[in-house]
């Protein structure tokens, strides 16, 4: 195994929503870490706090307490502008409902993060074409999102997330709105990106069937990490053990 480089470190992250007199504790002390190049899945039932945690990872939300280190930097010390810059350069966001901009063409959609990075127009155009080709939609650059299918939209959203070559992709149920076949294609695309470009991916899902795709799974249950393993994880570990034994 290569030297382990920790990109994300969460220390006792807690999040409590306060609505009126009511306090709703959503995250009750999360300790976790993600290594560079890992493909991590957050699995948990609906309402278990997955999106909340992902938003904290993306610096869109702040934890009530606890420490979040991104590449060894405590993000709570960063200014608004610095956080936005990190979101722009280091993080790629992917949403369940794609969140493409309907007024813009596919090409312009892909260019948006580059726009905020002040990348010159000609470079943007070139990169957009490159990325569209990478996700298999090089011929749809001039189309509007409304002219694309769900799977195609998500591919464009992935291309957009990749436009500033982020080290880290945050995806909130990216296949939640897609059928099984398309889901598998999209998951395959994530795998390829993870392998080829060594992008770290943190993906949220409530679908345990996607479990086998991930290198590591963090299971959330009632605001805490659940250490119990899935059956397939036990099976996989046994398999690995057998391989090691065979090698010896």
């Amino acid at each position: 195994m290569a030297e382990s480089q920790i990109i994300v470190q969460l220390k006792d992250i807690r999040k409590t929503y306060i609505t009126g007199d009511l306090q709703v504790p959503v995250l009750k002390g999360i300790n976790a870490q993600v290594e560079r190049g890992e493909f991590v899945g957050f699995i948990g039932t609906s309402g278990s706090g997955k999106s909340t945690l992902l938003n904290i990872l993306g610096m869109l939300d702040v934890p009530t307490s606890g420490e979040y280190l991104l590449e060894d930097v405590d993000v709570s010390r960063l200014s608004d502008v610095e956080q936005a810059t990190i979101r722009n350069r280091k993080i790629g966001f992917i949403f369940q409902s794609f969140n493409l901009f309907p007024a813009l063409t596919v090409e312009q959609n892909i260019e948006v993060p580059m726009l905020y990075a002040r990348v010159p127009g000609r470079v943007r155009t070139k990169r957009a074409l490159e990325l569209a080709k990478r996700v298999g939609l090089g011929h749809r650059l001039g189309h509007k999102p409304t002219q694309l299918s769900g799977g195609e939209c998500q591919r464009i959203a992935i291309a957009r997330a990749l436009s500033n070559s982020p080290a880290f992709i945050l995806a909130d149920e990216p296949t939640g709105n897609l059928d099984e076949k398309t889901s598998n294609e999209i998951m395959e695309l994530f795998h390829e990106l993870n392998r080829e470009q060594n992008v770290t991916i943190v993906m949220v899902t409530h679908n345990p069937a996607l479990g086998p795709h991930y290198d590591k799974i963090i299971r959330l249950r009632d605001g805490r990490i659940d250490d119990r393993l899935f059956e397939w994880e036990i099976a996989r570990q046994q398999q690995l053990q057998q391989q090691q034994e065979a090698a010896q």
Partner: protein, 424 residues
Amino acid sequence: MMLIRDLVGLSFRNLLLHKLRSLLTSLGVIFGVGSVIAMLAISEGAKHSALAQIEAMGIDKVIVFSRRPPIDGKSESSSENASVMERFGLTEQDRQHISRMDNVERITALFDTRNKILKGLQRMDLKLVGCDRAFLNETAAEIEDGRWFSKIDFDSNAQVCVIGMNVKRKLFTLGDTNVIGSNLRIGDHVFRIIGILDNPYATQLPEVGGQNDMILIPMTTGKILFKDYTFLREGRQFKITRVEYDIFLVKVNDTFFIDNTSKRISGYLEKTHEATKDWGMIVPLELLRQRERTQNIFTIVMGSIAGISLVVGGIGIMNIMLASVYERRKEIGTRRALGAQKSDILLQFLIETVFLTTSGGITGILVGVLIGKIITNYSGMETIYSWWSIILALAISCIVGVIFGTYPAYQAAQQNPINVLRSE
């Protein structure tokens, strides 16, 4: 800079995405700017034509005129049958004196013969006026047909006349081609018509009236035939009026000395015409200045009224932009997630509003020009579109966008990205 260009492109695309809404949103600004443009054009036009009329009187002149002095109690109580001898107004002596003043270049005089002009039995509102030969050059009038008086006409006291446009209209039938050369009979005298005069501004002279309503004869002829005396019968009463001159057009060699010269003239006349106030004075330059002042106030008032509709339009835009911020929370959140700074969001919405108001402003300018053209067509009012009014309208619509776009843009920038991402 690069971002601004892209944001302008983005606003344009957003505008096209909601064509009808964009149009309705900017309607207030369109009509606001339209009315600013139309009002400025109308008031500029009014100013222009009013000033042109005053200018046609000659801003290098002081106009002095004779005027019947106010009737005092004594002459009223005199017996009914008594004939009254009235003598007033400007005299040859005044003329001599004024023409010797500093800075006075020339005096052109008019003398109203006070004859009744009849067409059949009907009295016409026309005047038979003796004038100096320089009169034509001293006014905005032009010879429309025929010729002006020659020196010989003056020297020989010729019985010739030049008639104004309205005289021709009132005394001759339409399409009469033999006006020039025909004879005009006034009282016991006959005058041959040698020319027709047209003053396009229809300049009015005090007491004597419009230039186009005059039958002009040489001053020399007039003095000989009518002797400064006018006999008028009013009921059983005879009235003899003696007026030497009715109008002096005093030309001053430099407009710089107008104020000074007019003061000296009035000082002199006050002294010599001590007993009665039988004269008056008009200084066109002074009128011009006054008129300009009142016109400017008028323009400001009109502009302000139109400006209010712009403010109303701006508030409408602000309202809709605020609604649009709420509606586009998801877009804002997504942009923040993709790395937009708060300032990027602020700029985007601000540019969008300014784009909306400015394109509304451009449309408004076209609408304003159209309104002005329609008004000119139906009312004949002159409209003038100045460059500054168009630039002003553009600047105003831009500023309206900045003023009313800042608050919605600030609201957009302050949206909490998680809340907006959750709101599906």
